[in-house]
Amino acid sequence: MTPIVPQVWDASAFTGVRTPPGFQFGLSPDANTTAVQMHGREIGIWIDSDHPRPALGSLLPITPAYWWWDMSRAPIPFKDPGRELAMSFDLKVPTATKTGKAVAYITTNFLFRDSRSHQQLWLGATVFDPRGESTLPDTVHLDNWEGGTQLPIHYSALNQKSQWLHPGPSSVLFTDKPFTDYRKLEVCVTAPELRAALIAMKKAMPKLANTSQDPRDYQLIHFNINPEVFAPQGSRGELGLSLRDVRVEMLAP
């Protein structure tokens, strides 16, 4: 495994966040290479797909995430009726560039687990993608990219059109353009929306017919914010962003 090393160069020009010395790391100490900054409640992420290249394949995620490993501790978001699960944070994306077929984008993801069948599935919202909103209709497929989880994955753009999730009342919506000011994002899921996602999954993947269709059966076992660069050989993608104040809450609408 490539070790994580401290960096002394300042990634703020790419990420939009400046951290004190000792709070920036990467895979190489060299200037301008892929970096992570963490200080207070802010996280800065800089991905340059060429420095370094991935060890395998073309996909480069750097993912702030929370894991529940003990399933007995994982929350059951929809055990009570009339609740919404919400993930919120502030985001700015000062840098997104590409050459060739590279793509840089940012998604948020909830990982649910059916406590009956133990089947797991992702429910994701794309919040930034230069390819544009029209390329992101509600889609369910298998997470079979390099390093993928081989689990069903639902994707929507964060907008008012999705059948599986919706933006919170104070949230900005999906964008395809970089922005340098912090904007609040809030991705919300209701029980009917999760049920709609489960129905779509079972329709697309008949072998999962035994999976529960009742949102009350599902645990939240992981969530993440996933900035990612896809850069096949001969292309290059760069993505610089910062985020802060990540919250996951249960809301009463």
Binding site: V36, I62, F223, V248, L251
Partner: protein, 291 residues
């Protein structure tokens, strides 16, 4: 209107006089809050120290000002405020006493960073003193200001004992476009900030609703305080817009499953991990597919 001269913000006597006043007033406020029942303790939003802290911004001196003192105020000259001139604002340069008294500069010409530094030190001194008598950082706000976009003076209210706060007029429509404020929020580790002096030059309800919504959309924004409200009576749209914001039904948080913790030096190393999962419950940043 004539105002008293700009005080020397580094004067020992002046700072001590400020300290003496809030040593008297702050305990009264804290005692009042302490006696409130738990469900009403939120009524103390915070305590603000400083007021558009600056040199030559709110208090200034005209050329030959001392000679004007003996004359009638109606004959005072009128010089427009030059926001772009970050040193004198278009009037006679002041601030020599404070930069010398504070040790920031003893010779040469005053610079923008000199004026920023003395204001920052002044607010930091007051806030430290307030913290020592028991005001929590989340309840303490330092009032700064800036007029030219991005000028250094915006840095003044950022200190370890308080939350920064600024005046908003030009960028009242959307503080996210205020580069001086955003620069400081990006590096401030304070739990909150505030639009502690706020006025939108519009009588339109939708303009006020949108502007306040933008201002309060940042979850760290603790409050917006409307100043210069005398003209509200003549523009009922303003109150209507404010009501639309205040009366909007918010989502009610029933349960916080996760709230990102502060990352300090001692745990930052463990928070950034490589491909292998830590297999322990927690919040991590994972760098994937690097082998």
């Amino acid at each position: 209107m004539r105002v008293l001269p700009q005080p020397n913000l580094a004067s020992r006597h002046y700072v001590e006089a400020c300290r003496a006043e809030f040593r008297r007033l702050v305990p009264i406020v804290l005692e009042w809050r302490g006696k409130l029942p738990a469900e009403k303790k939120h009524m103390l939003i915070g305590i603000k120290l400083g007021h558009e802290t600056s040199i030559g911004g709110s208090g200034y001196h005209y050329e030959g000002g001392n000679e004007l003192l003996a004359k009638h105020a109606k004959d005072d000259p009128v010089l427009s405020f030059d926001a772009e001139n970050v040193l004198s604002r278009g009037r006679t340069q002041i601030g020599y006493a404070v930069v010398k008294a504070s040790g920031v500069r003893t010779s040469g010409s005053i610079t923008e960073s000199d004026l920023r530094d003395v204001c920052q030190r002044y607010l930091a001194t007051l806030c430290r003193a307030a913290a020592r008598i028991g005001v929590l950082r989340e309840k303490l706000f330092a009032h700064g200001v800036g007029w030219k976009d991005g000028e250094l003076l915006y840095d003044a209210p950022v200190n370890p004992d308080a939350c920064p706060a600024w005046s908003f007029y030009k960028h009242a429509t959307d503080p996210r476009l205020d580069t001086g404020v955003q620069r400081n929020l990006a590096c401030s580790d304070a739990p909150h900030w505030a639009a502690c002096e706020y006025w939108l030059a519009s009588g339109d309800a939708k303009a006020w609703r949108d502007a306040l919504t933008n201002t309060l959309s940042d979850p760290r924004c603790r409050y917006a305080c409307v100043f210069n409200w005398e003209s509200m009576a003549a523009s009922p749209g303003i109150a209507k817009g404010i009501h639309e914001v205040v009366d909007a039904k918010p989502h009610r948080v029933i349960e916080t499953i996760f709230h990102q913790p502060d990352i300090t030096k001692k745990d930052v190393d463990a928070s950034v991990i490589g491909e292998v999962h830590p297999q322990s419950e927690g919040f991590y940043v994972r760098l994937g597919n690097y082998g």
